[in-house]
C-alpha cells in the first residue's frame, strides 16, 4: 500500500483547544462511568477544569497569525480565538448555575456535562470552520447535543415536546442549509470558503452562475435564520425556551448565538461577501420582522421564559441589522451586540435559576412580585439586567443597540433605524413590567431565597460587569471591531 | 476449472453471435446465474439429507434410509411432497405481504452468490466491493422474516420476527467489525483479492492472525442463519416455529431453502475470508505441493466448505439452545468489545509487519 499522506504534528497545534477538549470529553465520559454516587460531583469539576484549560489554550492562540490547516477546512484567526475564549468562558458560567439547578431538580447526570462539552466542541468547530462541510458538521454537533440536553428531563412531557419540536424543525433547517450548500458547491465547484469567495468575487462571473449562487444563497439564509430563530422562522423558539429545563434554556439561548454569528460571518461575509446586495435585502426583511414581532408578542407573555424567548428574537433582529449595513464596522457592531447579549442573558437566566426552589420552576412573571423585599440583591441584579436589555443608558445594553443603530444610520437606512427605535421603546414596556413587579408589588409568599456562595459570586460579578462595561464600553467595542 | 468456465462463456458467444453489447452480457449473466443456482439448490437439498443423517448417527440413529439406496433420494421425495401441499392463507393476513415474505427471504440468499468466487477467475461478476455487497445483500434477507412475522397476523410469528430483527441487526454489527479486521489484513474489499492475499500454504491463511475473529465470525454466522444453538427465531419449544408457523407448502419451502443457502454461503465466506479460499493448504511445501497439484480449485473450496457445513450439524447436535438475553449479552458485551480490541491489535500487527500475512 502506498502511503502518500503526510502531515506535520506541529501544524496541528493551532487546533490544540479542540483536540484537548475532545480528549477530555472522552476521558470524562469514561471516568463518569466508574464514579460511585459519592463522587458524582467530580464530573462537574472535571468539566469546569476541561473548559478552563480549553479557554486558556484558546487565549494563548490570540494574536497567532492567520493559519489554515486540514486542507483549507480549519481556520485560526483572531476572531476564532476570541470567540472560543468567550464560548468557553460563558459556558463555564452557565455550568455554575446549571449544577445548582440540576441538583435541585434531581436531573444531575454525568452525561449532561459531557453533552455540554460536546456542544462547546461543536461551537468551536463552527467558529473555526473554513469550509461549508466543517461549518455544517459543527452546527450538527451543537444541535444534536442541544436536542438531547432538552430531552434530558424526560419525565416532563413539556420538555420532551420541546425537544421533539426543536429536533424536527432543526432537521428541516439543516436540510435547507445543506440544499443551499449543495447549490453553491454545484456552481462554484468547492466547499471551501476561500474558493467560494474567489469564485463569487471573480469579475468575469456570468449571469447563470450568479443566478444559481443566488438560489443557493436563499436556502443558506433561510437555514441560518431557522437556527437563529429569526421571524418568520421563529416558531420553535418560545416553545423550546419554555419547555427545556431552565439550565438548558440558559445555555442554548446564550452561547450558541456566538457560534451562529461566526458562521454568518464565515459564510456570508468571508464566502459570499460579493453577493451582499442580494442577501442584505433578505436580512433587512428578517431583522425588521424579528424586531417587531419579538417586541410586540413579548408584551402578552405571562411566562418569563417565553417572554425572554421573544426578547431574544428581537435581539436577533438587531444582530442581523448589523449585517444589513455591509461594512466591517457594522459586522463589528453585531459582534459587540452578541457578546453583550450573552452577558445579559446569562445574568437574567441566572436569577431565574436561583428563584427555582426544589422541584418548582419560578417561570411565571407573577413569581417576581415583591422580590425586592425578600431578596434585594437578586432583585437589584435583575433590575440591572432588565434595564440593560431595554437599552437604558448607563448600562451596556444601551451601547450595543446604539452602535448598531449608528451603523445603520451611517449606511443610509434612516427609516429602518427609526422603526427599530420605536420597537425598542415598545419592548421597554415588558422589561419595566418585571421591575414593577419586583419593586412595587407585594409578594404573596414570604420566604427568603438562599443560594450557594459560588452562584451568588458569579451572579454579582455578572451583574456588575453589565454596569462596569456599560460605563467603559470602549475596550470590548475595540475588541469586537478588531476581529474582522 | 477456469479454462472450462472460459470455454463455456465462449460457447455462449458462439451460439448467439447475433447478439452483442448489453443484451448479450445480460443473457450470459443469466445463463451463468442458472449454472450457479441449480448446483446450489441440489447442494442445499443434500445438505438437508446430510443434516438428518449426521445428527442421526450422532444420536445413535440411522436417519432417512427408505427412499432410494441409503435414503439418497429422500430430498427429492421432500421436494415433491412440498410442491403438492396446499398453501394456507390465514384469514386476516395481509395477502400481498404474506406472499412477498418468502420471496424476500429467498432472493437475497441467492443474489449473494453473484459475487462469491469459487475458484481463480471462476465467478459471475468481479465486483470491486464484493465483500460489502455480501454484507449489504445479506442484511436485506432479514426482511423476509420481519414481513412474514408481521403479515401472518399471528402472535408467534410476530414474536419470532421481533427476536430475529433484534438479533440480526446486532450480529450484523459484529460481523461488520470482523470483516473490518479481514479487510485491514488483506488491504482490499474484493473477495478475489482477499483470497489471493492468502496464497502460498496454510500458514498464509488469515485464520492465524485473526484466530479470535474467526471464532467470533463463526458464532455470528450461526446466529445470522438462525441455526442452533441460536435458533430462538424458530424456537420450537417456546414459540412453536416462529415466523414459519403460518406458512405451508412451497412458501415454507422457500424459507427453508433460503436458510440452507445462507448456511452454505456463510461456510463459503468463512473459507474465503479465513481459510485461503480455493488455495491448497500444501502450496509451497516441496513434496506435497506436486502431489496435490491435480486437485482443482473448486474441490479444495468444497472440501473446506464441507468441514464448516459439518460444523453446523455438529454444533446443533451438541449444544442446547441459548436464551434470548444471553445471546444479546454475548453480542454486545463480549463480541463487540473483543472485535474492537482486535482491530487495534491488527493495526499494530500491520504496522510492525508481523508474519507473512501483511
Amino acid at each position: 500500500m502506498t502511503n502518500n499522506f503526510s502531515f506535520e504534528i506541529n501544524s496541528l497545534l493551532v487546533a490544540l483547544p479542540e483536540i484537548f477538549l475532545l480528549s477530555s470529553i472522552v476521558i470524562v465520559l469514561i471516568i463518569d462511568l466508574f464514579l460511585t454516587s459519592k463522587f458524582r460531583q467530580a464530573t462537574y469539576y472535571l468539566t469546569q477544569l476541561s473548559l478552563m484549560v480549553t479557554g486558556i489554550l484558546s487565549f494563548n492562540l490570540i494574536g497567532h497569525p492567520e493559519t489554515v490547516i486540514f486542507s483549507n477546512s480549519f481556520i485560526l484567526d483572531n476572531m476564532a480565538s476570541v470567540f472560543k475564549v468567550f464560548i468557553t468562558g460563558s459556558s463555564m458560567v452557565a455550568m455554575v448555575y446549571t449544577r445548582h439547578y440540576l441538583l435541585q431538580h434531581s436531573l444531575y447526570r454525568g452525561e449532561y456535562f459531557v453533552l455540554v462539552m460536546l456542544a462547546v466542541l461543536g461551537m468551536m468547530v463552527m467558529v473555526s470552520g473554513y469550509s461549508m462541510l466543517t461549518l455544517y458538521m459543527g452546527l450538527e454537533i451543537l444541535s444534536l447535543s442541544l436536542y438531547t440536553l432538552i430531552a434530558i428531563a424526560r419525565n416532563r412531557s413539556i420538555a420532551v415536546e420541546a425537544a421533539l419540536k426543536y429536533f424536527v424543525l432543526g432537521a428541516i433547517a439543516s436540510g435547507l442549509l445543506l440544499y443551499g450548500i449543495s447549490m453553491v458547491y454545484g456552481i462554484s465547484g468547492s466547499i471551501n470558503i476561500s474558493d467560494i469567495s474567489a469564485f463569487a468575487h471573480d469579475p468575469s462571473i456570468n449571469s447563470r452562475d450568479t443566478l444559481i449562487l443566488n438560489f443557493g444563497l436563499v436556502f443558506l439564509v433561510i437555514g441560518i435564520a431557522f437556527k437563529l430563530g429569526a421571524v418568520p422562522f421563529h416558531m420553535w423558539v418560545p416553545d423550546v425556551y419554555e419547555g427545556a429545563p431552565t439550565s438548558v434554556t440558559m445555555f442554548l439561548s446564550t452561547v450558541p448565538k456566538i457560534a451562529a454569528l461566526a458562521m454568518l460571518v464565515r459564510i456570508l461575509v468571508d464566502g459570499l461577501g460579493s453577493m451582499h446586495d442580494y442577501w442584505s435585502d433578505l436580512f433587512l426583511a428578517l431583522s425588521l420582522l424579528s424586531i417587531s414581532v419579538g417586541s410586540v408578542v413579548a408584551l402578552m407573555q405571562t411566562n418569563i421564559k417565553r417572554m425572554l424567548a421573544y426578547s431574544t428574537i428581537s435581539h436577533v433582529g438587531f444582530i442581523m441589522l448589523g449585517f444589513v449595513t455591509g461594512v466591517v464596522s457594522g459586522y463589528g457592531a453585531a459582534i459587540f451586540y452578541v457578546l453583550v447579549y450573552v452577558l445579559m442573558s446569562l445574568a437574567a437566566f441566572g436569577v431565574i435559576i436561583i428563584l427555582n426552589n426544589k422541584g418548582y420552576e419560578a417561570d411565571q412573571i407573577s413569581d417576581y412580585k415583591g422580590l425586592s423585599k425578600n431578596s434585594p440583591w437578586f432583585a437589584l441584579v435583575m433590575l440591572i439586567v432588565m434595564l440593560s436589555m431595554a437599552g437604558v443608558p448607563p448600562f451596556i445594553g444601551f451601547y450595543s443597540k446604539f452602535s448598531i443603530l449608528q451603523e445603520v444610520v451611517s449606511a443610509g437606512f434612516i427609516t429602518v433605524a427609526i422603526i427599530a427605535v420605536v420597537f425598542a421603546v415598545i419592548s421597554a414596556y415588558y422589561y419595566l413590567k418585571i421591575i414593577k413587579f419586583m419593586y412595587f408589588d407585594e409578594s404573596d409568599k414570604d420566604e427568603t431565597i438562599s443560594a450557594p456562595m459560588d452562584i451568588k459570586l458569579i451572579l454579582s460579578i455578572n451583574g456588575s460587569l453589565i454596569l462596569v462595561v456599560g460605563l467603559f464600553p470602549d475596550r470590548l467595542m475595540n475588541i469586537s471591531m478588531s476581529l474582522l | 476449472m477456469m479454462s472450462l468456465w472460459q470455454s463455456f462463456v465462449e460457447l455462449i458467444h458462439e451460439l448467439i453471435p447475433w447478439l452483442d453489447g448489453g443484451i448479450a452480457t445480460v443473457i450470459i449473466i443469466l445463463i451463468k446465474g442458472i449454472a450457479l443456482v441449480l448446483p446450489l439448490i441440489i447442494m442445499m437439498a443434500y445438505m438437508t439429507y446430510a443434516e438428518r443423517k449426521v445428527i442421526g448417527y450422532m444420536q445413535l440413529r440411522i436417519g432417512p434410509n427408505r427412499v432410494g439406496p441409503i435414503g439418497l433420494l429422500q430430498p427429492f421425495a421432500d421436494v415433491i411432497k412440498m410442491m403438492f401441499k396446499e398453501i394456507i392463507f390465514p384469514t386476516k393476513a395481509n395477502i400481498y405481504l404474506f406472499l412477498l415474505a418468502p420471496i424476500l427471504a429467498f432472493v437475497p440468499a441467492v443474489a449473494i452468490w453473484v459475487v462469491i468466487p469459487l475458484g481463480e477467475g471462476f465467478y459471475i461478476t468481479n465486483l470491486d466491493v464484493s465483500l460489502l455487497y455480501v454484507l449489504a445483500i445479506g442484511s436485506v434477507g432479514v426482511y423476509g422474516i420481519i414481513i412474514a412475522g408481521w403479515a401472518s397476523n399471528s402472535k408467534y410469528p410476530l414474536l419470532g420476527a421481533l427476536r430475529s430483527t433484534a438479533l440480526l441487526v446486532s450480529y450484523e454489527i459484529v460481523i461488520g467489525f470482523v470483516i473490518v479486521t479481514v479487510v485491514m489484513v488483506a488491504g482490499s474489499v474484493n473477495l478475489n483479492e482477499i483470497v489471493e492475499g492468502q496464497k502460498g500454504g496454510a500458514w498464509n491463511w488469515y485464520f492465524i492472525p485473526l484466530f479470535p475473529m474467526m471464532i467470533v465470525f463463526w458464532i455470528s454466522a450461526l446466529t445470522e442463519t438462525n441455526r442452533a444453538p441460536f435458533d430462538v427465531v424458530e424456537g420450537e419449544s417456546e414459540i412453536v416455529g416462529g415466523t414459519h408457523v403460518e406458512y405451508s407448502g412451497m412458501c415454507f419451502a422457500l424459507f427453508f431453502m433460503a436458510e440452507y443457502i445462507n448456511m452454505i454461503m456463510m461456510a463459503a465466506l468463512a473459507v474465503l475470508l479465513f481459510f485461503g479460499g480455493w488455495h491448497s493448504p500444501f502450496e509451497g511445501l516441496p513434496y506435497l505441493e506436486s502431489l496435490f497439484e491435480f486437485v482443482p480449485d473448486l474441490v479444495w473450496l468444497l472440501v473446506k466448505m464441507s468441514f464448516f457445513l459439518f460444523l453446523y450439524l455438529w454444533i446443533r447436535a451438541t449444544f442446547p439452545r441459548f436464551r434470548y438475553d444471553q445471546i444479546m449479552r454475548l453480542c454486545w458485551k463480549v463480541f463487540l468489545p473483543l472485535t474492537i480490541i482486535w482491530i487495534f491489535v491488527v493495526a499494530l500487527m500491520t504496522q510492525l509487519a508481523i508474519g507473512p500475512w501483511f
Binding site: 499522506f5 475532545l22 465520559l29 486540514f70 486542507s71 477546512s73 447526570r109 452525561e111 459531557v114 453533552l115 460536546l118 469550509s131 462541510l133 466543517t134 458538521m137 459543527g138 450538527e140 454537533i141 444534536l144 447535543s145 436536542y147 438531547t148 430531552a151 434530558i152 447563470r208 443566478l211 444559481i212 438560489f215 | 453489447g21 448489453g22 443484451i23 452480457t25 445480460v26 395481509n94 405481504l97 412477498l100 465486483l127 470491486d128 466491493v129 460489502l132 455487497y133 454484507l135 449489504a136 445483500i137 445479506g138 442484511s139 436485506v140 432479514v142 426482511y143 420481519i146 414481513i147 412475522g149 408481521w150 410476530l158 420476527a161 421481533l162 430483527t165 441487526v169 450484523e172 438475553d325
Partner: protein
C-alpha cells in the same frame, strides 16, 4: 438507445414510482417497503454512475439497518391513520401551493438551460480497473480527514444521546446475576433446623 440508457430510465422510473407509492400508500408497512424499493433504485442509479461504494453503503445502512428498525417500530405501534389523514387534507392546499412554487422556481433555476449537456460537460467514463473505493478512501483520509473526524464525534453524540434518553436504571428489571448464583452456598438457601422430637400430650 444504449442498453445503459434503458437501465437508467428503468431505474429512474422505478425510483419515482416507488417514492410516489411510498407517500400515497395508506398502509405504513407498505410505505416502508416502497421506501426500501426506492433506496434500491437509487443505489442502482449510483452503480450506473460508477459510485459502487455509495450504492452498497446505501443498501447496507439504510435498507439493512435503518429501515429494519423502522419496520420494527411500525410493528409495535398501532397507528391510527384516519386522524393522520384528516390533518393531511387540512394542510394539503397550503402544502400543494408551496410545492408548486418551489417546483416552479427549481425548474427555472435548475433546468436544462443551466445544467444541460451543452453547459456542463458529461463526466468521463473510467477504465474498468478504476476503483471507486480506493479513490474515496484517499480523499477521505487525507483532504477530508477533519470532517471525517467530526462525523465520528457526531456519532459519539448520537450514542451518548440514545443511551442518555433511553437507559433507565430500572429496579424492576428481572436480571440474572450469574456471579451471585455461582457464589451461592447451600447454607444461604437451605436452613437446617434441628427440632427435638416430641409427642403431643393428648396422644399419650
Amino acid at each position: 438507445m444504449e442498453f445503459e440508457q434503458i437501465l437508467f430510465y428503468l431505474f429512474s422510473f422505478w425510483f419515482i414510482a416507488s417514492s410516489l407509492a411510498m407517500i400515497l400508500s395508506r398502509n405504513t408497512a407498505f410505505s416502508a417497503l416502497f421506501l426500501i424499493l426506492s433506496f434500491f433504485s437509487a443505489a442502482s442509479l449510483w452503480l450506473l454512475l460508477e459510485a459502487e461504494f455509495l450504492a452498497i453503503i446505501l443498501i447496507l445502512v439504510y435498507v439493512g439497518a435503518v429501515m429494519v428498525l423502522f419496520l420494527f417500530v411500525i410493528k409495535m405501534l398501532d397507528i391510527e391513520d384516519s386522524t393522520l389523514r384528516a390533518k393531511f387534507t387540512g394542510y394539503l392546499p397550503i402544502g400543494l401551493g408551496v410545492a408548486v412554487i418551489v417546483i416552479a422556481e427549481m425548474s427555472l433555476v435548475l433546468g436544462v438551460d443551466q445544467f444541460g449537456l451543452d453547459v456542463v460537460p458529461q463526466p468521463i467514463r473510467h477504465a474498468s480497473d478504476y476503483s471507486n473505493i480506493t479513490e474515496l478512501a484517499m480523499e477521505l483520509y487525507t483532504i477530508y480527514v477533519y470532517p471525517f473526524e467530526l462525523a465520528a464525534v457526531l456519532l459519539l453524540i448520537a450514542i451518548i444521546a440514545a443511551i442518555t434518553l433511553i437507559h433507565r436504571p430500572d429496579k424492576r428489571a428481572k436480571k440474572q446475576s450469574i456471579e451471585e448464583q455461582v457464589n451461592t452456598q447451600a447454607k444461604d438457601r437451605v436452613r437446617l433446623v434441628s427440632i427435638a422430637p416430641y409427642k403431643k400430650k393428648d396422644e399419650q
